[in-house]
Symmetry: C2
Subunit: 335 residues, 2 copies
């Protein structure tokens, strides 16, 4: 990590804490603690592993700096995108009944679903307040333009989440449905993180569009990689038990491709329970039916599109180099 | 209802539908249906009873008109405050395990808690987008000022909700805690509805403050009345079974006052189950220990403060008259 990215991450963290300190009154102290725990700052296992990678703030700040803007002024926006990400994680964990997040018990496991819903809502409200704080350093028109981009993404997140949940009970999910779902659930926030950076960096419209597009394809590439790792991945890389996505019957890209072949995998998916005992064999059958190759090609295609968009955006200076490096790192994590 | 308020309500409804139509794509149609159902537009029992009274949009629009502003331009803000109200209701109903809302099954009862959480999140995002739409008709600075007021309220809502939930497991809740809770849960949104109307109506700072204060005390007075009706009210007025708040062990103002007396009511509350069989008797005991008088006096005091603030704001014209009338109607519903 360069000094620049370290500084950006450190400033984002300070700003996140400043935003959450809005809940500092004595009577909401235990409530604030729930947010601090989720952010990875307090409780058992607090620290680097528990905070997550803060990719979205980093993308936003590297983008504004790559456009020649003053990234320090955009730190509240960086906090805002990270708060939205975490709001969606807290609600996701309730919706998916997930017991662990970043290696620790989820908020709802610790405090129950009703309070966890409220924690997510507070993170959402704090994100919006962070965006409004930009008005201290940017012209109001720019703040509104950036906020509108973020709010569109928030609606996209709920669309993606709806599709994801609806997939569970549908037998007819197609590969096209998958793209709509991951566009909302994963790509939209990465995309708007870059777009907001470009807006605040005074980039012209084609450059804004190139950054937006970069974030979008980065998100899609990233998600497909995650899908691949979830079935054929290495537990040491992912921190999740290998092939857990098959056991959880997650309709990820490789599974949807496998089902579309109407072959042996589709037969097994329909009629058998997938357990720790047969999951490796089933993952092998899925790969034989060319799902692995398909997903791998799709990831490569999205990666190329992301890198082309980034080149088109033509990021400048040290931040530009860091943005290229970060992209390489994110997209080659299984290499 | 005057022609003016009818027009305002009609325009708010059109705008609410326009905002929710952002979910009009084919693959999110069933999701949009959940929002439409909650708003009272579709499903069994749809209609006037199911939409609720839309008090917040009306307060906002009457306020801007009372300041001499063009209320038609502020309709997206009116939709925004109603969307926030409904976002909080959808999440509240999950958190409180409520089976009915406005006489119909709640969203989570119909579609399950995971999807209902997502419905609330979408209403929140749509509210934020509505606020951003104001930029088509108002200077950006005003939009940011109004949005900031609304987002502060959203954080207040989560504070109030946290306090409300924490009361359930606390034996030491004081009357002061009650004020903090209802300020967040009820008064803040009524208060910001008026404040936003005044901001968009170009009112000067003291007038903005008078309208904000009016909404705040209106909210407190309204909530205390609700508490009184929840214990000693008439089912025909409230639509809820009389005294249900005691059975549900809700720590409303009369209960907290009763507990502070450490008399017979406090004894019963601690040691007995309150059921349909003994609730009338217990409500009588609570009244004898002067809780009814205390709550009634508090409601009167808050009503007076609300009306004084409104007079200070000096609302003008037909809208001003309607605002006075609406206030009278809201604050005398048990008379």
């Amino acid at each position: 990590m360069t000094d620049l990215t370290s500084n950006m991450l450190a400033e984002s963290e300070i700003e996140l804490k400043r935003q959450i300190s809005r809940l500092d009154e004595a009577n909401t102290e235990p409530f604030k603690e729930m947010l601090s725990y989720h952010m990875g700052w307090t409780g058992e296992g607090a620290g680097r592993e528990a905070t997550g990678k803060r990719i979205r703030p980093l993308l936003l700040l590297l983008t504004i700096a790559s456009c020649g803007g003053d990234w320090m002024k955009a730190v509240p926006a960086a906090a805002a995108v990270e708060l939205i990400h975490n709001f969606s994680l807290v609600h996701d964990d309730i919706q998916d009944n997930s017991l662990k997040r970043r290696g620790r018990p989820t908020v709802w496991v610790n405090w129950g679903a009703p309070l966890a819903i409220n924690v997510g809502d507070a993170l959402f409200a704090l994100s919006n307040l962070s965006m409004m704080d930009l008005a201290n350093s940017f012209p109001s028109e720019q703040v509104i333009s950036a906020s509108t981009a973020l709010q569109r993404t928030c609606l996209d997140l709920t669309r993606g989440q709806y599709l994801d949940m609806s997939f569970e009970n549908r037998e007819d999910v197609k590969v096209d449905d998958y793209w709509a779902m991951v566009t909302g659930k994963t790509a939209s926030l990465l995309s708007s993180s870059c777009l907001i950076g470009a807006i605040l960096g005074n980039a012209d419209n084609p450059t804004q569009e190139a950054y937006r597009s970069f974030g979008h394809f980065l998100g899609l590439a990233f998600q497909i990689q995650d899908d691949i790792l979830g079935i054929w991945g290495d537990e040491n890389v992912t921190g999740k038990s290998t092939a857990s996505d098959l056991i959880e019957r997650k309709k990820s890209l490789p599974v949807l491709v496998g089902l579309s072949k109407k072959g042996k995998f589709a037969e097994i998916w329909k009629n058998e329970q997938i357990t720790i005992a047969n999951v490796e064999e089933i993952a092998r059958i899925l790969a034989q039916e060319s799902s692995y190759a398909y997903a791998h090609d799709a990831a490569k295609q999205m990666t190329d599109l992301a890198i082309n968009s980034l080149r088109e955006a033509d990021p400048q200076g040290e931040a530009g180099d860091s943005l290229m490096e970060l992209t390489d790192k994110l997209l080659r994590r299984d290499a």
